[in-house]
């Protein structure tokens, strides 16, 4: 049996591969006809080969559970997702614009607070925010950049346009899977890379990341010591920490490997102490330094914060950068872009309602069953309410929570996420996806060619998080360069 694009039915959603039954979108035609040239058995064989490769290459992620932490093989669907080069060029400009504005915003918040004085963003939103770090006030990191690595979640609605769903400015993960997905696809579909498709490479990310980090070095040395700070092997993203360290040729360190003396950071090597210049930290602010934040933290390094304040070490992302990825602050990003750059946002936000505003909050409470409600500070899809799929008990519970703490919630209409085909056991079927590109900002900016596509493997589901059963796809930016 072969793929029949005439019976492939995305229903009421925007499908990224098929424009109408039997017809592929222009940039996807070759893929559609290639897939049709294979039998389903051949496709399944490729799928098995991909799974085997993933297991052998040790591409894994950790799931926390009551039964202990389980190291699981990374789930990847073998059919790539395609985005046209022209669309991506525009999107990528939008992502750079957004991160630039967000960095201006963070820098302003910890310094002059002009945007608060001009009442573009209400100051109580910032000063009450759990992510505003008073300890960072007055600090001016190199290039005035706080968020050096950003993972922005994009989705497509029924109109086929990209919208920003959220910004991740703390320790966004997923980029290693973007790179590994490509490596697996090359093994499974080498013929597609030989043919006419002009697929933009993604492999340069680790080099770009290293350059961005090295540029932050406070010491003017030829080879600054760049390290990746991981919480350790039990962290769900450990694979990625190790992967990025390998690819950058940087040291992978844990808190216990470092020590601060005279406000300088050193790592313990077999030759004794050796100075560290740049720390790409993959642990949360609150665990960075037990002397300043969470005093029980064993993941961080005592004295690290002060070393950073003194300018003896660079931290990426800087402590306090998370103040701008609060989901309530998110709703102000269009105004933030306008305020600092005097430009209109290139990629729009998903329309949102702020519960802190009485009128909007009433609207949210009345329409809870139609909306998606998100807490300001969670990630990974935790603590969310999907109104149309919730029980009346869950709805009542969320109404109570919102009333008790309106600052902590925002709501959005349920977006009809676009679909792409996945390889099911018997047929090729549409599933919902989102996209997480990665943006770097240091002495210059960089945006990945595409990003990590996450896919809800369950029919009709919108949950794409790998911690909750989501899968992933290789993402191809094709043509038009």
């Amino acid at each position: 049996m072969r793929v029949n694009w005439k019976t492939y039915n995305p229903g009421d959603f925007y499908d990224e591969l098929i424009s109408s039954p039997g017809y592929a979108r222009k940039h996807a035609r070759q893929l559609a006809s290639y897939l049709k040239s294979l039998t389903h058995e051949e496709l399944l064989r490729k799928k098995n080969a991909a799974e085997l490769a993933i297991k052998t290459m040790g591409i894994s992620f950790t799931v926390y559970s009551d039964a202990g932490n389980i190291d699981r093989e990374w789930p990847m669907d073998i059919i790539p997702r395609l985005i046209s080069g022209r669309e991506w060029d525009r999107t990528s400009r939008g992502l750079e614009q957004r991160l630039q504005a967000l960095n201006c915003f963070i820098h302003d918040l910890y310094n002059d607070q002009k945007i608060l004085k001009d009442k573009v963003v209400p100051s109580e939103l910032i000063l009450d925010s759990a992510n505003f770090r008073k300890q960072c006030v007055g600090i001016k990191p190199k290039f005035n950049v706080w968020a050096h690595i950003c993972g922005t979640d994009l989705i497509k609605d029924k109109d086929g346009q990209f919208y920003v769903l959220e910004d991740n400015l703390r320790v966004p993960s997923g980029v290693s899977y973007m790179l590994e997905n490509r490596r697996v696809t090359k093994r499974v579909f080498p013929e597609l890379f030989e043919n006419n498709y002009d697929i933009r490479p993604v492999t340069e990310y680790p080099t770009q990341l290293f350059d961005a980090l090295a540029a932050l070095s406070p010491r003017n040395v030829k080879y600054p010591e760049v390290v990746v700070l991981t919480p350790g092997i039990f962290n769900s993203a450990y694979f990625e920490h190790s992967f990025l360290a390998q690819r950058m040729g940087a040291e992978l360190v844990e808190g216990g490997d470092m020590v601060v003396e005279d406000d300088k950071v050193y790592m313990r090597t077999i030759d004794g102490l050796s100075q560290v210049d740049v720390i790409y930290r993959r642990i949360d602010d609150l665990f960075l330094d037990p002397a300043v934040f969470n005093k029980d933290s064993v993941l961080g390094v005592k004295g690290l914060f002060n070393a950073w304040v003194k300018g003896n070490v660079a931290l990426a992302n800087a402590p306090g950068a998370g103040v701008a990825d609060d989901k309530v602050i998110y709703t102000y990003v269009p105004q933030i872009i306008k305020y600092y750059l005097d430009e209109d946002p290139i990629i729009p936000n998903v329309p949102s309602f702020l519960c802190i505003d009485k009128k909007q909050c009433d609207h949210v409470l009345e329409n809870l069953h139609k909306l998606v409600v998100k807490p300001a500070n969670e990630s990974g899809g935790y603590g969310m309410l999907i109104g149309p799929q919730a029980s009346s008990k869950e709805l009542a519970e969320f109404a109570r929570r919102i009333k008790a703490n309106p600052r902590n919630y925002m709501a959005q209409p349920l977006i009809s996420l676009s679909t792409v085909p996945i390889l099911g056991d018997r047929v090729v079927e549409p599933r919902h996806v989102d996209l997480r590109p990665f943006i770097l900002q240091s002495d210059k900016s960089y945006v990945t060619a595409g990003g990590l596509t996450r896919v809800a493997m369950v029919k009709g589901s919108y949950v794409v998080n790998s911690s909750q059963g989501g899968g992933s796809k290789d993402t191809w930016i094709v043509g038009d360069d």
Binding site: G249, L252, D257, I270, D271, G272, S274
Partner: protein, 316 residues
């Protein structure tokens, strides 16, 4: 620039992988040896438990040192002492040091781990066991080959070698111990230095040599008929054979020259080396080896502690 933590992990990766290979060799040779010895020979499976120094853990779990129990204990069960356990540890150490090793290193260890895990249950019976053990040994050698052929001679490589050589020296002394102890020697005559130990002494020592892949090299270099005394001398004192204790101690000395602050470790290695080199084997066999091997193992353990104190992260 090598992080102390990374040094420790690559060292243990070297050790555990070597232990996997040695345990697999032991099980493999032992399974064959039994077929050649007369029925009723006092050669129990418990010997393997003793060689690996795991009696306490074994006795806690099993009453009978039957073939089935011992194989399960040393091969497939997760009790902290089995091939699968050591492989899991080697894999974990490789997984946390991927940035300093060739890419394929983790992939090979990972692959070996899954293969062993998937087939460990079948290996209770002798046929599949042979295939599995031979496969494990071959894969360990493949990994060593990868490192020999593709890894820079940097500090991380030095720590892999430290771990491997120390583990190898340790296992060789254990095997010599087993070969000369009552448990493994049904032939009394051997200890009295009598010329002809009978047909089974020959078989026994051939297998001891085989467990170290040393048979052909012994034949080539010793040129004597196989006698206990010569085998012990070969396995302990030969400088050229890479699994002999002396050779490994010499390797340690060479590796230490490349590492910073290695003075105290080197002192301890030299001390151990003298203990091996200056020993009169004939005399030793007459006195009995037990005490000597114990001393030797303590010195080897002391080498480990010196290494840990010099380079690894302080224990909290």
């Amino acid at each position: 620039m090598l992080l102390s933590r990374v040094a420790e992990r690559v060292y243990w990766q070297g050790r555990y992988l070597e232990r996997v290979e040695n345990t697999a060799r032991l099980l493999s040779v032992y399974s064959t040896l039994l077929m050649d010895l007369p029925k009723g020979t006092k050669l129990g499976w418990h010997t393997l438990v003793q060689i690996t120094g795991t009696e306490a853990a074994f006795d806690k779990r099993y009453k009978q040192p039957s073939e089935r129990n011992v194989i399960r204990f040393l091969l497939s069960e997760r009790n902290g002492n089995s091939i699968l356990d050591y492989l899991a540890l080697a894999r974990e150490n490789a997984r946390t040091t991927r940035e300093v090793m060739p890419t394929e290193c983790f992939e090979l260890i990972n692959d070996l781990y899954y293969r062993a895990k998937d087939h460990a249950q079948e290996a209770i019976s002798r046929g599949p066991r042979h295939n599995l053990l031979e496969g494990i040994i071959a894969n360990c050698q493949q990994i060593n080959g990868l490192l020999a052929g593709c890894m820079s001679r940097d500090e991380a490589y030095s720590f892999v070698r430290l771990g491997r050589s120390l583990e190898r020296a340790d296992m060789t002394t254990r095997i010599v111990d087993a070969g000369t102890s009552d448990l493994l020697s049904p032939i009394e005559s051997m200890k009295t230095g009598q010329e002809d130990g009978g047909p089974f002494e020959n078989i026994l020592w051939m297998n001891v040599l085989r467990s170290q892949s040393a048979y052909q090299m012994y034949r080539q270099h010793v040129r004597e008929r196989i006698r206990g005394e010569d085998v012990v001398r070969f396995l302990l004192q030969d400088e050229k054979f890479p699994r002999a204790a002396a050779h490994n101690l010499t390797t340690l000395t060479k590796v230490l020259q490349k590492l910073p602050n290695s003075g105290k470790v080197k002192w301890q290695v030299d001390k151990t080396r003298r203990l091996v080199r200056n020993q009169d084997i004939q005399q030793l066999l007459n006195k009995g080896l037990l005490r000597y091997i114990d001393d030797l193992q303590q010195e080897l353990a002391a080498v480990h502690f010196r290494i840990a104190n010099t380079w690894f992260l302080p224990v909290k």
